[in-house]
């Protein structure tokens, strides 16, 4: 019987550090314990962007960095029975599984891949459910993605069928951790206490370095060792539900402060953290340092899971444009403000416009970095300013028209404006609604990869 499971985090978001999983897998392997590694790569809008890629090419729509993320660790994980669980399937888990199968073949390893689907609600039946749940959704034509947050159950099922790798689309982030825990320990799906604890262990892991000194350093107040090489977290979780958060070798740190910040990250009512699997409760949590870079969290529990599942619906959000121009030296702010006023007056009236003035040291600096090194000696930061104008609207041509007025500031704006940059991109809007559990059917399929 397995008494403990180590769960490491290989990624905390889609843009996370590619090298991070290597140290995690090395440490999991060295521990000799039963282990899993999770990859959380889906933000609120990431899935919509994935759907757009899938529309262009039905073979795409999964995490774009999937290959570089898994290449250095796949063989090691499969050969050492370290389960890989990731939501890197994004908008197309079967295509991600195909890529992983190809990678396994290249690396000459035999692997079973569990593919979790059923989160996609964009089909006719799903849409009917969504329309019944919310009357604030846009036209079908504007919808880009609609995905229900699945819980741990399909991950447990895939692992139960011997999957070495589980690839999902939208699942609740902590479920990536809770799945391997339930599989390893056989926790019941109504063991609210343990599910609550396992969920919060997953919550601490799901943002990668955010619990090991990432997103934390405040020089002179909260210093982080080797901040350029932060070891990602590894949780040591017992069958009883007790757990200790540690980290892979490298820089960073795990202490009372890093764990407290991450425990409350994106939490509203601490006594009711809602997930598809459980209502987790950290209202009485306490944080205990048990060694260097080892922290235990006591007092977590859980209560009955919600009756509904959350669905994130993404739709066409029009266009966003941003233009910037710098002013330096005497009266710089006045010139930047005048430029803002001129752009506003020249731009179309029926788009949204926002102006900001940014600045410490930019245009006066040098490519070699000498001035950056002496940044404190440059006196009043407000003499090096940058006007930023943001435009948003549904009509691309109007937004572009506004942006063009930033470009025109070179010859037809205030004195000595420089360094114009312009960017225009489509925008994805998101909303959410809650649907009955019974409206969602998670599915698990096993793909065999043979060398």
């Amino acid at each position: 019987m397995v008494e403990r499971l180590l769960v490491g985090a290989g990624a905390g978001y889609s843009g996370d550090r590619i090298e991070a999983p290597i140290a995690v897998v090395r440490d999991l392997k060295a521990s000799g314990e039963r282990a899993a590694i999770i990859f959380e790569t889906l933000g609120e809008r990431t899935l919509a962007l994935a759907q757009l890629r899938r529309r262009e090419n039905p073979q795409l729509g999964y995490e774009p960095k999937l290959r570089p993320l898994l290449t250095p660790v796949l063989k090691d994980c499969v050969e050492n029975k370290i389960a890989i669980v990731g939501n890197f399937g994004a908008g197309n888990p079967p295509a991600a599984a195909k890529l992983i199968a190809g990678l396994a073949a290249e690396q000459k390893v035999r692997a079973r891949i569990g593919v979790v689907t059923g989160d996609d609600m964009l089909g006719p039946e799903g849409l009917e459910v969504l329309r019944a749940a919310s009357n604030e959704l846009p036209d079908d034509r504007a919808l880009v993605s609609a995905n229900a947050y699945l819980g741990a159950a399909p991950i447990v099922e895939a692992l139960g069928e011997g999957a070495d790798i589980v690839v999902t689309g939208r699942v609740a982030d902590p479920a990536l951790t809770l799945g391997p825990l339930i599989h390893a320990f056989g926790w019941a799906f109504d063991d609210w206490h343990r599910l609550g604890v396992g969920t919060m262990a997953g919550h601490l892991l799901e943002c990668g370095a955010q619990v090991t000194g990432g997103y934390f350093a405040d020089p002179g107040f909260k210093d982080v060792p080797e901040p350029e090489n932060i070891g990602f977290p590894i949780a040591n979780i017992e069958r009883s539900g007790d757990f200790v958060i540690g980290k892979a070798q490298g820089g960073g740190l795990v202490d009372r402060r890093t764990v407290a910040e991450q425990l409350l990250y994106e939490v509203h009512d601490p006594a009711a953290y809602l997930t598809p699997d459980v209502t987790a409760d950290i209202g009485n949590a306490s944080i205990v340092e048990v060694g260097k870079d080892r922290v235990r969290v006591d007092g977590i529990t859980g209560h009955q899971r919600p009756d509904t599942l959350k669905v994130t619906v993404c739709y066409d959000g029009g266009w966003l444009a941003e233009g910037e121009i710098s002013y330096y030296g005497p009266n710089a702010i006045a010139r930047a403000k005048l430029a803002a006023e001129v752009v506003r007056k020249r731009s179309p009236k029926n788009i949204r416009i926002r102006c900001d003035i940014i600045g410490v040291l930019s245009v006066l600096g040098d490519d070699g970095g000498t001035s950056f090194a002496g940044i404190d000696a440059f006196g009043e930061p407000t003499s090096d300013v940058r006007l930023r104008v943001a435009f948003a609207g549904d009509d691309k041509s109007l937004v572009e028209r506004g942006l063009q007025e930033v470009e025109a500031l070179y010859c037809a704006g205030p004195a000595a404006g420089g360094g114009i940059r312009l960017a225009l991109r489509p925008r994805i809007a998101a909303t959410s609604c809650f649907i009955p559990r019974s409206a969602v059917t998670p599915r698990v399929e096993i793909v065999e990869a043979r060398p």
Binding site: P219, G220, E266, V267, H268, D269, A271, A285, D376, A390
Partner: protein, 119 residues
């Protein structure tokens, strides 16, 4: 009694969900926690973020973590998918809360952090 920025007494992190922001505020030392409870009220936080026009501010107390968790509604101009702000997540706003000054009795000043060699 002297006035100090929360930055000297506590640390913080924000998270966003849609148009709702949460800001944790964690005392460096347990002895400071009652001071946070006393001075960093829902009203004080609503005033601190007045320019973002919160429609509601809720405070949750976590005495065993000597931490407070604030939930501010409708302060992100629609949030990451709508706002024109450079920081549409509101990620930088934890340090706006840490700029709030509160009165600190003389006997607790010893718990205040000062810059220890950083910039």
């Amino acid at each position: 009694m002297i006035e100090l920025e929360l930055h000297a007494l506590a640390h913080a992190r924000t998270g966003d969900k849609g148009n709702r922001l949460n800001v944790s505020l964690i005392a460096y030392e347990p002895a400071i926690y009652p001071l946070l409870v006393k001075h960093v009220t829902e009203t004080a936080v609503a005033m601190r973020f007045i320019h973002r026009r919160p429609s509601a501010v809720m405070r949750y107390e976590l005495p065993k973590m000597h931490a407070l968790n604030f939930v501010l509604d409708d302060v992100l101009d629609g949030g990451v998918t709508q706002a024109l702000n450079l920081d549409s997540h509101g990620k930088t706003l934890s340090f706006h809360l840490l700029g709030l000054r509160i009165p600190v009795p003389e006997d607790l000043v010893k718990h205040a952090r000062t810059n220890r060699g950083g910039n």
